[in-house]
C-alpha cells in the first residue's frame, strides 16, 4: 500500500516537470501533501500515539492545506502570470527528471545500507533532485518556492524511512520552521514587486562585485 502511494508520488514528479501552469504545480503540491500523510499513517503506525497524531496533523495541515493555500493566495494578490515560463522546454525537462531518477537509483544502490527501504530512499532523492532542477530551470521566483517545497517533501519522505525518529519537540520545530520560511518567501515576494513587475529571477542582479 505504501509502495503504491510512493509510486504515485514519483508520478507527480514527472507531472511537475511537464506542467505549464502555476496552479497545476500547486495542486501537485497538495497531492504530494496528502500522499505524505498516507505514507506517514501506514509507515509510522508502531510509534507512540501522541507523537504519531502530532506528526500526522502537522503533515496534513502544513503540507496539504496551508502551504498550497498560501502560494495560491500569493499568485492572486500579486497578479502573477499563470504560465510557468521555463528555460528548458517540457519534453526536455521530462527527460532530465527521468535521468535524475535513474541517478538516485544508482546512488541508493551504491550506498549499500541494509537498514533502509530502497524505494523510499530513491524516491526521496528523486524528489530532492527534481526540486533543485525546477529551481534552476524556471524563470519565475514563485517556481523556486515550489521547487523548494518539493525538495522539502523529499526530505520528509527521507525522514520517514529513518529508523530512529526525531523526538516530537524537534519534529514540531522542523515543520514550523519550514512553514515560516514559506510564509516569509511569500512576504518578500510581494516586496519584489517594488523592483520589477515580472517576478523573474533575472531582476535580482544588482548586488555583485
Amino acid at each position: 500500500m505504501a509502495t503504491l502511494l510512493i509510486i504515485i508520488f514519483i508520478i507527480t514528479l514527472f507531472y511537475a516537470a511537464i506542467s505549464g501552469r502555476m496552479f497545476t504545480l500547486i495542486t501537485l503540491l497538495r497531492v504530494q501533501g496528502v500522499l505524505l500523510f498516507g505514507v506517514a499513517l501506514i509507515e509510522l503506525r508502531e510509534m507512540n500515539v501522541v507523537n504519531l497524531i502530532v506528526i500526522l496533523v502537522e503533515t496534513f495541515v502544513f503540507k496539504a492545506v496551508l502551504v498550497p493555500y498560501f502560494l495560491k493566495r500569493t499568485i492572486r494578490l500579486n497578479n502573477i502570470k499563470r504560465e510557468v515560463e521555463p528555460f528548458i522546454s517540457g519534453v526536455n525537462s521530462l527527460i532530465i527528471v527521468s535521468v535524475l531518477i535513474v541517478l538516485s537509483f544508482v546512488l541508493t544502490f551504491s550506498l549499500q545500507q541494509d537498514f533502509y527501504n530502497v524505494i523510499y530512499f530513491t524516491v526521496a532523492f528523486s524528489a530532492i533532485l527534481t526540486g533543485l532542477f525546477l529551481m534552476v530551470s524556471r524563470k519565475k521566483i514563485l517556481t523556486h518556492i515550489i521547487g523548494y517545497v518539493i525538495l522539502e517533501n523529499g526530505i520528509v519522505l527521507l525522514s520517514f524511512s529513518v529508523g530512529s525518529e526525531m523526538p516530537m519537540m524537534v519534529n514540531a520545530g522542523i515543520l514550523l520552521d519550514i512553514l515560516v520560511s514559506v510564509l516569509l518567501f511569500g512576504f518578500f515576494m510581494s516586496r519584489i514587486r517594488h523592483i520589477s513587475k515580472e517576478f523573474e529571477i533575472s531582476s535580482l542582479s544588482k548586488l555583485k562585485d
Binding site: Q112, I128, Y148, N171, G173, F188, I192, I195, K206
Partner: protein
C-alpha cells in the same frame, strides 16, 4: 531554566513588536540584555541547564555564548544610536528590536544545543529572524539581499538536514536511541559505512557554510553584510559566523574518530583555501566598504577552516582566532555605521580624511586595522603564527605558503582602503554634511578593542582552559 530564557525572550519580542511604544523598547531591551547576561553567568558558574538530551553547556558552547552576550550588549547600544540618527518611526524600530531579540535567542539556542535536530531548528530560526533585520533599510538592494539570503540559506540548511538524516540512517542498525552530539560518537565508529558518512559530512558542511561564510555558499553572506544596518552586519560577521563554525566544528568532532577523519580534513583544507582565494580575488574589485570588510571576514573564516583541517595546536588557535576576530570585526562595523552616516555613501572612493573629522573614530579604525592585519601585539598574529607553524610541521608546506601569499595580498588591499579612508582625499560634494559627531559613540568599540588587546597580551587562564576543554574531544 533554559525554558524561562526562551519563553521570556519570545515574550519580550512579541511585546516589543506589538506594543510599538518608545518607552517599552528601552525597557524591553534592557530586560532582554539582563536576561542574556543572567543566563550566561548562571551557566558559566556551573548552573544546571535542564532538559538533558536536548541542551548541554559544554566549554565550546560557553566560549561562544559569552562572546555572543558581550557582542549583543554593544550591538543593542549601537542599534539605538543607529535608529535614532536614522530617524526611523516607532513601528519600524519595534520590528527591528523584535527580530533582534529572536535572532540573539536563536543563536544562543544553536550554541547550547546538544540534540542534533534541535540545533538544526535553531540554525533555521536564525535565518528566519534575520530577514527583517537585513530588510530594515527597505531599498531595492535590501529586498534582493534579503531574498537571496533567506532562500539560499534555507536551501543550504535543507542540505544539512539531509546530511543529518543520513547520519541518523547510518546508525539506525545499531539500536542507539539518542541522537545527540555527546552520545553518538561510539555508534558512528561502529556503524562505519564510509560513503554514507562522507555524503553526510559534505552535505552538512555545504549547508552550514552559509552561516560560517566559507567557500561554496559564502556569497549570500556578503550580500547580507553589505545592505544590513551596520550593527546587524557586526552580528552577521561575528556571532552568526561563529554559529556556523560551532555547527561544523561539532560535526567535525563527532566524526573525527571514524574512518573518514583524514578525508574530512582534506575537505576542510580545500574549502578553507578556496575561501581565502576568493576573498583575495574579489577584494581587488570591491568598491563598497562594507563588502570589503565582509570579504575580510570570509578570509578569516577560511583560515579557521584551514586550521580545523591541520589539527593539533591549530584547533586551539582556531578558537582563539575566532574570539579575537569577533571583538575586532564588531568594533569595525560599529565604527562603519558612523562613517557611512557621515559621508552618506558606502563607496570607498568617496570616503576620505576621516581622521580629521573624528580623531577618536580614526583611532578606532587604526587600532582595528593593526589587530586585523595581524601586526604584533595583535592576538591574530599569535594565532596565525600557531596555525602556520603547525601547517609546516604537519606537512602542509605548499598550502601554508599559498595561504600566506594570499594573506599578504589581502592585507595590502585592506591597508590601501583603510588609509584612504583615514587620510586620503575626499570628493568635495560628499563632505558637506556638517554633522557633529559625538565622541561617546565610539566608546563601545574602543572598549572591545581594548579587550582584544588585553586578551592578546595576557590571555586569561580561564579562557585558555576553556579552549583546551573545547578541543579535548578531538583525537590528538
Amino acid at each position: 531554566m533554559i525554558l524561562i530564557y526562551f519563553i521570556s525572550a519570545v515574550a519580550i519580542a512579541a511585546l516589543t513588536g506589538l506594543l510599538k511604544n518608545r518607552l517599552f523598547q528601552y525597557l524591553g531591551m534592557s530586560v532582554f540584555v539582563m536576561l542574556q547576561v543572567w543566563l550566561n553567568v548562571v551557566l558559566l558558574t556551573g548552573g544546571d541547564i535542564g532538559f538533558s538530551g536536548y541542551f548541554r553547556a559544554d566549554a565550546l558552547a560557553m566560549i561562544f555564548l559569552t562572546l555572543l552576550s558581550i557582542i549583543s550588549v554593544t550591538t543593542i547600544i549601537q542599534s539605538f544610536v543607529y535608529l535614532t540618527k536614522r530617524g526611523d518611526t516607532i513601528a519600524h524600530r519595534s520590528y527591528y528590536f523584535s527580530s533582534m531579540v529572536i535572532f540573539i535567542a536563536s543563536m544562543t539556542g544553536v550554541f547550547i544545543s546538544d540534540h542534533i535536530g534541535m540545533m538544526w531548528v535553531f540554525a533555521e530560526a536564525t535565518t528566519l529572524s534575520i530577514a527583517l533585520l537585513i530588510y530594515h533599510e527597505r531599498t531595492p538592494e535590501a529586498i534582493e539581499a534579503t531574498w537571496k539570503y533567506i532562500f539560499i540559506s534555507t536551501l543550504g540548511l535543507s542540505f544539512s538536514f539531509i546530511g543529518i538524516l543520513l547520519l541518523d540512517l547510518s546508525i539506525s542498525g545499531s539500536g542507539t536511541a539518542v541522537f545527540t552530539f555527546s552520545g553518538l560518537t561510539q555508534a558512528l565508529v561502529s556503524a562505519g559505512n564510509k560513503m554514507m558518512l562522507q555524503l553526510a559530512f559534505i552535505l552538512i558542511v555545504i549547508g552550514f557554510s552559509v552561516k560560517m561564510g566559507i567557500f561554496p555558499l559564502h556569497t549570500v553572506c556578503i550580500d547580507a553584510h553589505s545592505v544590513a544596518p551596520s550593527p546587524v552586519s557586526a552580528m552577521v560577521s561575528t556571532s552568526l559566523m561563529n554559529v556556523g563554525f560551532v555547527a561544523i566544528f561539532r560535526f567535525y568532532t563527532l566524526l573525527s574518530p571514524t574512518a573518514i577523519a583524514g578525508w574530512m580534513s582534506h575537505v576542510m583544507l580545500i574549502l578553507g583555501f578556496l575561501s581565502v582565494l576568493f576573498a583575495a580575488i574579489y577584494l581587488v574589485k570591491v568598491k563598497n566598504f562594507k563588502r570589503l570588510i565582509a570579504y575580510s571576514s570570509i578570509e578569516n573564516m577560511g583560515i579557521v577552516a584551514v586550521a580545523m583541517a591541520v589539527g593539533g595546536i591549530a584547533w586551539f588557535a582556531a578558537i582563539l582566532h575566532l574570539v579575537i576576530h569577533t571583538f575586532v570585526k564588531s568594533g569595525i562595523f560599529y565604527q562603519m555605521a558612523q562613517i557611512i552616516r557621515y559621508y552618506k555613501t558606502k563607496k570607498v572612493f568617496f570616503i576620505g580624511r576621516y581622521f580629521k573629522v573624528n580623531p577618536i573614530g580614526g583611532l578606532v579604525m587604526i587600532f582595528a586595522f593593526i589587530i586585523l592585519s595581524g601586526i604584533p601585539p595583535s592576538g591574530l598574529f599569535f594565532t596565525e603564527f600557531m596555525i602556520f607553524s603547525s601547517m609546516f610541521t604537519g606537512g602542509y608546506t605548499v598550502a601554508a605558503v599559498a595561504v600566506m601569499l594570499l594573506l599578504c595580498f589581502i592585507i595590502y588591499t585592506l591597508a590601501k582602503y583603510f588609509f584612504k579612508t583615514l587620510f586620503g582625499p575626499v570628493e568635495p560634494e560628499v563632505i558637506s554634511n556638517g554633522e557633529r559627531i559625538s565622541k561617546w559613540e565610539s566608546v563601545p568599540q574602543m572598549l572591545l578593542l581594548l579587550l582584544t588587546l588585553a586578551i592578546s597580551i595576557y590571555p586569561p587562564p580561564f579562557l585558555l582552559n576553556m579552549i583546551s576543554d573545547a578541543v579535548a574531544a578531538l583525537p590528538k
